[in-house]
Symmetry: D2
Subunit: 449 residues, 4 copies
């Protein structure tokens, strides 16, 4: 429709800017001092006349630095562009005395780290957003060793939260007609169930019962920020092999009542801790509903990545029975022996229910990171699937356990609120029923599903 064409058209230039790879600086060995001098100039120049060129030069030179050079640069950023403590103190006292617009304005001006303004000015250059995201990725490696670098990290996060605001993100369907240079990134970034080359990718995108969606940002046009893979099925799937099987029956349109989100992967390390997943899932649920009225149920088919580690700690502190149980899970091949497997199922599933419903981190939230994500979005814990993932990784992380979280639009809001307020875990009767009676009593409030 003509509604969007002019706009599409005009965006080709932002695309080109975003794509503009910063060439090498052309210098044999850029000096960190010289880069910092440029940063100072960029930061203090009153007009913006030469800003674009200067920003481009800084970013190209930083890009040319070797590892130690980059670390030195980060350290200079941390030392140099923080607020002046005395100025801040003065401004804070003035504001405390007289909280006027003038004083607040002054306070904010001196309290905001000049690094933020520096990063904003670096962003003038074509391709700068990409370069800054990459810069933060490289910064991550040093954070544990050099705690002061967190100053730099926080300023980047503060800007990225603003720039990558949901209001600026773009949801895009990914399918077999998507350009190859985007598709190869899915292969590269898939974090949950590895994509084994192009034929495997085609099987996840092309069939009529598959969907894939990603968020993009206009300034990073060739790089998904996050993507989710969806299978349209007749009933709630309880194992990943069935979902991915080439031999599966592709159900006809009107029988597709379930959308199963079976993989969700963040793509940009440089955007770590800036969360897109909840927006993505909600938007995808809405778009799928609108386009496919036959869909009634929206669930995940999720791994339980922390389960076996928890189990081990738990066993270490528990009875010898438990240690023995954990020991049996460490044997290989039990999953193929039906009798043993059945026996283990009876013992392990109640522990899995405990893992999700009772076990907490010190801050009161569930131990499992995937559970925290979906519960925080307002989903509920719907079903535990014994041997849902028999892959090596699945067996290792969770003894093959998989979970369905349910996105029920009518209760998502209240689930979210209860979880946000009291870390209360919404769970189905079936899952709660797995808990031993004495633990079931511990559940703070009867869950609603």
């Amino acid at each position: 429709m003509s509604r969007t064409s002019f706009f599409q058209d005009l965006l080709s230039s932002v695309a080109d800017r975003g794509r503009g790879i910063l060439g090498p600086s052309g210098e044999s060995k850029p000096s960190v001092d010289a880069i910092i001098t440029d940063c100072d100039t960029l930061l203090t120049s009153r007009g913006e006349a030469s800003g674009v060129a200067l920003a481009a030069r800084v970013l190209a030179r930083v890009n040319d630095l070797d590892g130690p050079g980059k670390l030195a640069f980060f350290q200079r950023l941390a030392e140099r562009y923080s607020p002046d403590p005395h100025e801040v103190e003065g401004a804070a006292m003035a504001y405390a005395e007289e909280p006027t617009a003038e004083n607040l304005s002054q306070l904010f001006e001196v309290a905001e780290p000049p690094r933020q303004e520096l990063f904003r000015r670096l962003n003038l250059a074509p391709g700068a957003t990409r370069a800054l995201v990459d810069m933060r990725r490289e910064l991550q490696a040093h954070l544990s060793d050099k705690p002061d670098l967190r100053l730099v990290d926080r300023d980047l996060v503060h800007l990225f939260v603003s720039w990558f605001n949901r209001g600026f993100l773009v949801l895009q369907r990914i399918d077999w007609q998507t350009p190859a240079h985007i598709l190869e990134k899915l292969i590269q970034y898939e974090a949950v169930h590895e994509i084994h080359g192009w034929d495997d990718l085609r099987r996840r995108l092309a069939p009529a019962d598959r969907r894939c969606f990603a968020f993009f940002h206009p300034a990073l046009p060739d790089d998904p920020l996050i993507f989710v893979e969806v299978a349209l099925t007749e009933s709630i799937p309880d194992n990943i092999a069935g979902v991915l099987s080439e031999d599966r029956q592709i159900v006809t349109d009107e029988k597709r009542t379930v959308a199963a989100f079976y993989s969700i992967s963040n793509c940009q390390e440089g955007l770590k801790s800036i969360s897109f997943g909840n927006f993505l899932i909600k938007q995808v649920v809405e778009d799928l509903k609108a386009g496919l009225p036959s869909l009634k149920t929206f669930v995940t088919l999720s791994p339980a990545p922390g389960f076996r580690r928890w189990l081990q700690n738990y066993a270490a502190q528990g009875s010898s029975d438990r240690r023995e149980l954990v020991g049996r899970l460490e044997q290989t091949g039990w999953a193929e022996q039906e009798k043993i497997s059945k026996d283990l199922e009876k013992q392990v599933l109640p522990l899995a229910a405990e893992y999700f419903l009772i076990a907490k981190r010190p801050d009161g939230e569930p131990v499992d990171p995937v559970a925290r994500f979906h519960l925080g979005n307002g989903a509920s814990l719907h079903q535990l699937n014994w041997l849902g993932d028999r892959s090596e990784k699945g067996m290792k992380q969770s003894a093959g356990l998989m979970v369905n979280f349910l996105y029920d639009l009518s209760s998502i809001e209240s689930n979210h609120e209860k979880y946000a307020a009291r870390a209360e875990v919404a769970a189905s009767r079936a899952v709660r029923g797995l808990l031993p009676a004495q633990l079931a009593k511990k559940l703070r409030v009867p869950s609603n599903v």
Copy 2:
């Protein structure tokens, strides 16, 4: 080229979001209290589960408020979402004592007005960026009466500077093949030489010797932020009527050696004081050079909007000769009488040179706002054009005076630096030669052109 098509495609959805007009809230009379309650919830909610819907409701309700309602809302924003003075003081003192990453992080967190976070969260809703820009437009009207509202204004400016960073802007050529709903905005926004309807617009866009460029932002896809109109000519034009004349000779491609920027208009009141013009002009110069190698000279044909007002003040403080001269300019019809006009030219042009080269505001910058803009960009004052604009507006503002500022890429950088550092005005020998000898001596440094 296929490089951009996927991206164009994916952006149709951001376009649709950007376009999403916030419907009326559907409530008979939304209460400011209820809106503020929603704002509080939005700001304090830990998860972002319901953020999008909540943000959309706040914006729809604000949109439904009448004038006094909006003012009340703005005042609540100013009162309610400022930093806590005592928290800030405490954090500032801690940081002054021990300027650690932890303390700085804490300081910045309490010193940043919560309003900024509120606006960022409001921006989650589709169409929110448009709504926030409009909100600031309406806020402007109250700033002189209610100085406290400047708190709100400053926070919006701070965010807009970040969101509308050059790195996110899109340069787009506007021509007769541009969608009509964009073109009608040019008619509406043109601020320098009024566009008299569609036929006039066509004359500025369709002919082979015309160009027009605008900056857009992905989140405001249907609204130019700023645009510039360009005439391609054989020599530097000295009057606007010739440039716009329907009967002009359209010079052949290879004779087009001059690109004359004859009009530049900002479009969004809500983005006042966030400057795009210098980026626009420089980008357009680069794009024109690349596409049309015959172009050698890039100049403006600019009004001198402050000239007659300055002349009047100047006369009021000066000799009776000067008062008489100003009086003669107040007569009507002198421009049509060649002898009088010639006589006035001799007397007025030296004053015009003084106006641009010598006269300064208290801050040391030139009096003329257009001059400040182009000189600040690194252009030089190239030529003064007597009776360059005989329109009513032109005669009233500047006794018909027009000016060419020259964008010479080889000196733009040094011009800019000298101007930024010492407010030094780069001017051609011809313009400097108009100054009376005793004033010429006052020029701080010999100019370079």
Copy 3:
């Protein structure tokens, strides 16, 4: 959606080709002889190596010819590139004797006028389709004087029917976001109810209760072939002024039950007699139904352009009463006098019913050209509207009479067949009821609506 973006992208080049205006040949006075020599070369060259350049030169030179030059060129085309009568005769006899594949192939080869191959080869050049359509437009002017030129015309028609096959046409919605250079063509081509400039155009495109659709061909990207204007209304409109009124109430979405096609205009004289209208209307009906489920009724609001002329002939052959009636319609101002108007209505409407239902051309089809078009498409005559068009043109052509033709998808097929087979006019009971009893008996078959 990404499904179409690569394709959109690749088509920019066909667009550019289609747009490629053939420059002037650069010769002071191209000779028809030289052009014909080029045509001969183009036609006989075995390889196609130089075809594109040669075709471009022929078209550029033809374009440069003055009026008499073009006529001379057309005459040469008519004389020179017809099949050789004796070859055809020989091939026809051979085929008659032995109707083998070989002989048929040979026959078709010699019977197809070489002009068709010439036109196909001319079409190799960029912009050639546009040039050939324009060529036929110019040819039209000479057809009545020079009947031999019909040879050329028929060959062009034969090719255009193939090239502009429905399978290659593109339906495009036109709205206020359509590029201006397309929109100005609507103003220029509107043939039914004149568009008075851009503000009027905006009123027909921008409001929520308006739609406009056009057919395009990939090789003529900037030129609609035909377009239709649609009003979405609450009930079947009975006059054009109400439809176009600025003060009309814009009905809400769910109340829009009627789509009224109030204007349909062919745009390309060079494509005269190649019919697009029926495909357009059917496609638009389908698209509107799919997008706006509230629509239940699809009608036209059509002029009756032949009515008064028929009435005059009819009166000339009829009683003095009739002559008097026709005389009264020739008075000006009667439409404003209610009593007279009411009186005339009673007498004229039965004649209008006769005009549509009984009056026939020698070939058995209805006299009214608009009626032939819609009835041929399978529409039925639904309603006669007294004083539906009080414009000067409307009063002159049809004494203000307007007609609704109904596109009822369930009967369109059988209507069409009956009309195609027996020129039977489908009409509503209401319209049939207007006929005097003795005429009503003449209706061959009871109509179905």
Copy 4:
């Protein structure tokens, strides 16, 4: 640029039409009789009201036919829709007697096989062009057995030549940003040097020294018609392994002086004998020159697919020396033995020169099909490359011989003309110098390169 966006936009609908896969007819076993009845109706219906639906039904039913069903359908087409011999004879005689416009028109009408009109009407349906091209592909298989089906084939060819006229084709660059569903077709269609999966494809598209271009038709948006792969190199390449080597040095921009077309593949069997290659190569040469001014030389690196077959025939008729030579080429492994290979080179290259320059088919054209193609385009035979292709296929077809044909824009026209007129082969002095003296004398005219 906005010039193309509206058009791109409008073409999404032709794309969707073109893509519209004809669903199964839904009937258990469509009868050929029923299909032919529909064809009759489609052909005779006066109005076009129901044409689209009818055409769609015919195509869907044909698609559902099994092999024998299709053959029966083709035979009915051949028998039923040929011109009436007696009508044609009558019309031909009338025209021979009196060659008027009227009589010619009548003649052409009865001489054109009604099949052509039938195919044009079938093309009304969405996706019909695709279906008709596929129909011809299936028809090919029967042509040798059932010569009468050539009637049908010729009519399809006649239409396809018109529909796939160069004027309607679209040149599109293919690169790593092209949608995957297009790219997988390159893998499938590559006919010269097999593409071994996606990684291999990426190596042919993504590097800076690779280009690929294809022709598309608007009605077959997802299917290339023909594509060519190009390597940008520093000098004329003499072997394919070097061109495709992963370890090759990628030369810098300014050193790329040669564009080597190393593979050109037709994609649509259903468009066999409708030639696109010459247009493609010439257009690509022009586009490359315009975009990369450093390019000076345009050559192919071509196989010589008929060389060994010719050599065998030649040997069979020749001396025992020759038979022995051919016998040595049949040994495996000689290519790896330098001494043997050197020795063979001396003996075989003169024969290769003879193969290209002297050996002719009965029609006087060169024996080698690739040579016929490039020479017919106006290229010249530039260089013979011993062991240019050591792949199994290369050794088998041509004992490893590869050839460079040169596209020299300044002589392409005269080369083409000489070749078209007298089958004269343009060849470089170097190639001609390989001929034994007594054969060199046979060359009709000294070649020009």
